[in-house]
Point group: C2
Chain length 416, copies 2
Amino acid sequence: MKDEMLKLGQHARHASRAMARAEPGAKNRALEAIAGAIETQSDRLVEENARDLARGRDNGLDAALLDRLELTPPRIAAMAEGLRQIAALPDPVGEISGLRYRPSGIQVGHMRVPLGVIGIIYESRPNVTADAAALCLKSGNAALLRGGSEAIHSNTAIAECIRQGLESAGLPADAVQVIGTTDRRAVGEMITMNQYVDVIIPRGGKSLIERISREATVPVIKHLDGVCHVYIDDRADVAKAEAIAYNAKTHRFGVCNAMETLLVARGIAEQVLPGLAARYRETGVELRGCADSRALVPAMQAATEDDWHAEYLAPILAVRLVDGLDDAIEHIAAYGSGHTEAIVTEDYTRARRFLREVDSSSVMVNASTRFADGFEYGLGAEIGISTDRLHARGPVGLEGLTTQKWVVLGDGHVRQ
Amino acid sequence: MKDEMLKLGQHARHASRAMARAEPGAKNRALEAIAGAIETQSDRLVEENARDLARGRDNGLDAALLDRLELTPPRIAAMAEGLRQIAALPDPVGEISGLRYRPSGIQVGHMRVPLGVIGIIYESRPNVTADAAALCLKSGNAALLRGGSEAIHSNTAIAECIRQGLESAGLPADAVQVIGTTDRRAVGEMITMNQYVDVIIPRGGKSLIERISREATVPVIKHLDGVCHVYIDDRADVAKAEAIAYNAKTHRFGVCNAMETLLVARGIAEQVLPGLAARYRETGVELRGCADSRALVPAMQAATEDDWHAEYLAPILAVRLVDGLDDAIEHIAAYGSGHTEAIVTEDYTRARRFLREVDSSSVMVNASTRFADGFEYGLGAEIGISTDRLHARGPVGLEGLTTQKWVVLGDGHVRQ
């Protein structure tokens, strides 16, 4: 197993050098060709996927997991369309910025370059294979993809389309390698091959991500919790507050940028909370409140300490009254996960303080936390949302899969 | 020990929040006050340093180490001057960039923010205590500093000046904590306190850095080898080639950006190598060449495979003839450490290819590798040079001690 993985790593490293110097046109032709192969081989993808589904049913996978695993013709078409959208994005590689003359006479600037080899570890959805491959390819990286064992036939079939596309564009087929074994030790090797892998991006449940962070010696870009807060300040516009708090909770429940705790300043609670509570109830959202908020909305259950820490990913919302901005910032610092927080206020100074003092990957004024998303931010696509601090923070698009090197231009300059 | 370190970590985390929102004026006043305290307490620093020196002599430290350890009045004045220079740099924290309207109507951009708590582990030079503290402070971070045990009295005395300066500016004294114990287990705790430390920067010998990278669970920004190359292309200007190759090797020997291997295209070797070899010999540089280069300069020793890997940090130079650009790029990919490489050429296409295809933290055309330095690049100061790929690459200044979060400004916007 170790030898097999080292061989894949070696191939990836070798391919990464060709990818780093590949022209934008070649990369885009590969993406178009992969999209074409996925479309023309749609029937085969459905067949291979049927094998995964059958085995999944035999193994007793639940309906939600089977749904995530399934490839239908419309889903396959959407996968191809996603590839074409990534082809249409600007190429980040080679961009030179900040080239300035220094007193010594040299010109110094930055050039954007690929990270090298990116290892992506993910769970059931087979479309991640195409998405992740496309983002790595477009950003000039080589990729090692390790999907869930339950999707192995689907992923292998998609990998074959990717291989064909790369070859038809004259790029190394090893630029994207899907790990074909379901042996779990492969992951252990992949996350410790520091000589061949530059960064690991795990996508999936919290236990997967925690295990990988703990065991990896390769740097990891990861997403842990999304315990997002909306704070309604006592100088909020009530209509905006209701719209944002309602949208942040109910637009989608199972997503990391959904609000999980609503903080309301005491001075405005009586005005906004009863109305909001009624709207939440109509939508089937269960409310769990502090004692003070329950005095205003007696139908709420009592929140426990655990509720302030909870990422429900479900129609449940924790509600707490706070004294004001300082109290809200303290609550977020104590219980938040550093993902996304929003303030609703018309007060200029408080808005500025919230933006500056809340330490999260996205901080917002008068907008729904649901906007924390690569597409909404204009990245064109996203490989994930990072809750780490180093390198990439928040939604990670093509730029997050690159780094910068220094370029120095001289005319025979030497150091005095 | 564990409890003690966790307490320091907790204090650092707490102080980091106050530092993140500190005004530029307060941070600069603290830096000026620290500089003042260092100057007025110069005598005491010399006394405390004398204790370290005496113990160092008793423990048989060699002359070079004792020299690095020594604080003289001029060195103390330089330390204070360094603090004032850092105070004069622009404050990186809070800078908002790229704020753009999205089709949804929200405005999205980046805000530069501190990393949080930075742990710095270093060896003998006590001036690093003041330098590192100043860079962390200016960039809005809290710092945990762990110097060499041989400098413990000097570092503790400098720490006291830092504490006074922070307090006089109304900033938390715990924003810079110098670890007062010489117990080696303190390092082990520091590099695994992920809840309290956001990044570790080791500065010192390779064995220290390797040990820390291996054992740390906190992300590390590090500098390993500097096996730097100059490639003299056959379309080089001979005068520029000689000036650059001579300067890159002989300007200083013991520095990471000194050239260690000179690659010369066969087509120009006869023109440049004998003259250069004579100049190197006059300066006392020992040359170790491949068979082909020795045919041109018979006085050279024969290089072995080890020489292509060597970071001499000494007046020794490996010399190899190559067929041309491709061969040079291959040699650098095989033996380089990704630090700094330069091409000397008048050929436009080859210069462009070298810049794009050589994967090092600094790539240069017609300039000496000795320019790879934070001051030369205009960073104002540097905490070190990173040979890592993620987050910071090459010279790391104040910006490398910060990260960016997303800011979103709306007017009641919700996701459709």
